[in-house]
Subunit: 450 residues, 2 copies
């Protein structure tokens, strides 16, 4: 397993001075120690993580893996430019990542691959004793959710779901408000992924997010694998950007848990319409039947009596919104319209602009590192989620967003699919903690370190 | 039955010149003919209707009914001031309304009584051949929903559910946009009643909406009867302000229908908290157990594949919002934030301020009568819903919002209660049209008369 003993001391990294990270890298870890990180998947998302890793003093990127040679070339150049070194490279076939996992000079891995690989690779990483970070969503099926939990428990190796929205500035400020009881006892939440992904699900096979209506074999980047989930599944296939932040506010798996859920799918016309509009009625993809409804609405009941609405709305033209609401006995926040109402503080029946509230309750992390994080190229919320992963991995302690969280949040996908297929029939969430949610205390989110 | 033949000609009404309604009263009805209207219930809401009726040239208020003598006194004064006449008065006991319904000089009745009386009185009105208008919500149980439909069909008498929000200016402008296909094929809707009613559900027994934590026998006005529904029922007891407008946009009962629904209730703490805060822990009402959850979320599947989320959120501190969204293949409107996005018209991924869109698509009715309706005391949307009722009753034709609409919308209350009690189990909507929804063409909403 990764531990401080395993970290290779390496101080000869070129160029790091240019990107010196202030203070924080020294809080919990000697600057001389480095976490050896391997990257599985260096597509657009993995490269983003790579770039942020390369800015850190306390990380050594020792190995990369991708089946796409072009992506390897790009990643190697980033590493050479920043570190003057050549990583070990894997990707000869789809299972070559296992050889990366066998390396002694990999302490931790970041998995940023197509969804169908997330759980497989995370499980294999934990089996190999590598502290694992996996991109969202973590699992495709209920069995995979259990695989994450069971492997974590059996091996003792940690994993973190790398949900960056949990570190968004407004989200952490509202979490701060929730923890300080500004909204009183919490009652109701809303969230979702409302993002017009038509330009992501289709392209021309040349540019990731350009024009075109190809996907699968003829597509590139996300359209190559992501769109198939819209063809084959009528489910909320991407719940965590919305649900992750809400789950933390609601202490899910730490004194609370998701109990059951119903889901409803609208008709699905957006993707077909887009193909016809951009590619014409005669384009072969105009014949594709997409199972996924355009707007999927799920409602969760929690053990503590809150309800949570989750929306998946990715196939229609619309501006982006994660649709957050956090509502308690004393007031509520709504991200749409950026507004807050707190009884006794706000004018009766009148919304406050949220910003002054968000400023007042700015999270310690953002207060300390916000300026750094927001500077060009440092990733904003991506900086914080990665920081949290690295700091947790360095100490080999449980991360803020663990296997139980990954399992509970990702379970929305198969459970929504079952509910939709059964006319909205309620589906019970497995208790991935096997009862321990009652005893587990909340993770301490209100600190300024990671 | 009420018909043009029954209208008593009465041109000797004092003061009407002062309140002359422009033009519209003459469109479909001779100014010399008057609709004789009886009012059952002249509480705050009924008196509001009374005042608006008294402004019309084409209406004669011939009878009023209320068990509260004080309210009768107020109503009589309004009538005397406006018409110089004394109406026939009923209210000796709770069933005295039946004597009002027996009057030959009543063509139509407006029912604005506590919810438990709505269906009973509407059914009796139709049995008596009186064109019936009933306040929202229309029915408390599924059987009552059927009572409305069956009585209408058996007697041939019409009824209208007096949902004023269907006539709100933004709602009618968006309906105009939907009808003109601005949003393309419709996919998803949201609506609800999000209104802090704590000052309505409780008072001091002296003023309707003042301070105090009394209800039931010790309360007055709405707290006298309305609050009991929060004690006894865990249901969306007030769905129509939100659902009525959406049902019309979605052509429900006219080529579409509600198929099934799931509902979820959050914990219910708001009303108890309010009693403790305002009345102290020792107040007897602090012991009352309220069944109603604070936030109730229902999701409907329609026959045409849209989904509709309905929210009931009346027990917590929050600013008012009906939470509308109307979303189609080309774009969407959201009332929160007052914003619209239409692909190809709006800047990509950017919301437009809704107002210019709403101005452009202002409904013909509001274009013609908006200035009049908005003048002090003329009721705004209340003017339009009443106008629609009176004009339909004068012609004795089916109203825009009929028995099938009243039944389908009101059915949300008992169905949500069943679903909540059964862990979110989906509940099928009865087909109140007995299959005719497939053939019924949409009501023509886009006219400038009523």
């Amino acid at each position: 397993m990764a531990s401080r003993r395993n970290f290779i001391k390496n101080t000869s990294i070129a160029g790091m001075g240019l990107f010196a990270v202030p203070g924080f890298a020294h809080n919990s870890f000697s600057a001389a120690d480095k976490l050896n990180v391997g990257l599985i998947g260096v597509g657009l998302r993995g490269t983003n993580h790579l770039q942020n890793l390369l800015l850190r003093k306390d990380v050594n990127v020792t190995a990369i893996c991708d089946v796409d040679a072009d992506r390897i070339t790009i990643a190697k150049k980033h590493i050479a430019d920043a570190m003057g070194k050549t990583p070990k490279v894997f990707g000869a076939n789809e299972l070559d990542y296992k050889n990366l996992l066998a390396l002694p000079d990999v302490d931790a891995v970041i998995i940023a691959t197509p969804w169908l690989w997330h759980t497989r690779m995370t499980v294999d990483a934990m089996e190999a004793g590598k502290y694992a970070g996996v991109e969202v969503s973590a699992s495709n099926t209920l069995e995979e959710c259990w695989d994450l939990v069971n492997t974590h428990e059996r091996t003792g190796t940690h994993m973190m779901i790398l949900e960056n929205v949990n570190y968004r500035r407004d989200v952490l400020a509202v979490l701060n408000m929730v923890k300080q009881n500004i909204f009183g006892e919490m009652v109701h939440y809303r969230c979702g992924y409302q993002h017009d992904l038509r330009h992501v699900k289709f392209n021309d096979g040349k540019t990731a997010y350009g024009k075109g209506v190809e996907f699968g074999e003829k597509g590139i980047s996300e359209s190559k694998w992501r769109t198939e989930h819209s063809v084959k599944r009528n489910a909320d296939v991407y719940p965590t950007h919305g649900l992750g932040p809400i789950a933390v506010m609601a202490d899910v798996n730490h004194g609370n848990r998701f109990m059951s859920m119903t889901s409803h799918a609208s008709k699905g016309i957006g993707l077909h319409n887009y193909i016809v509009k951009e590619g014409g009625e005669e384009h072969p993809n105009a014949k594709v039947k997409f199972k996924q409804g355009d707007v999927i609405t799920s409602t969760i009941d929690t053990a503590n009596g809150e309800t949570i609405i989750i929306t998946h709305d990715c196939n229609l033209p619309r501006p982006y919104s994660l649709g957050f609401r956090a509502q308690g006995a004393n007031g509520l926040w709504e991200v749409d319209g950026s507004r807050i109402y707190v009884e006794g503080k706000s004018e009766p029946h009148q919304w406050d602009d949220a910003q002054p509230w968000l400023d007042t309750y700015d999270h310690p992390l953002w207060k300390k590192y916000g300026e750094y994080a927001l500077n060009a190229g440092h990733g904003g919320m991506d900086f914080f989620v990665l920081n949290s992963f690295v700091e947790s991995a360095k100490q080999n302690i449980a991360p803020p967003l663990d296997a139980y969280d990954a399992a509970a949040w990702s379970a929305v996908t198969p459970l929504s699919e079952l509910s939709i297929a059964n006319n909205g029939e309620p589906q019970d969430f497995p208790d991935f903690t096997r009862g321990l949610w009652m005893k587990r205390t909340p993770y301490n989110w209100m600190k300024e370190t990671y």
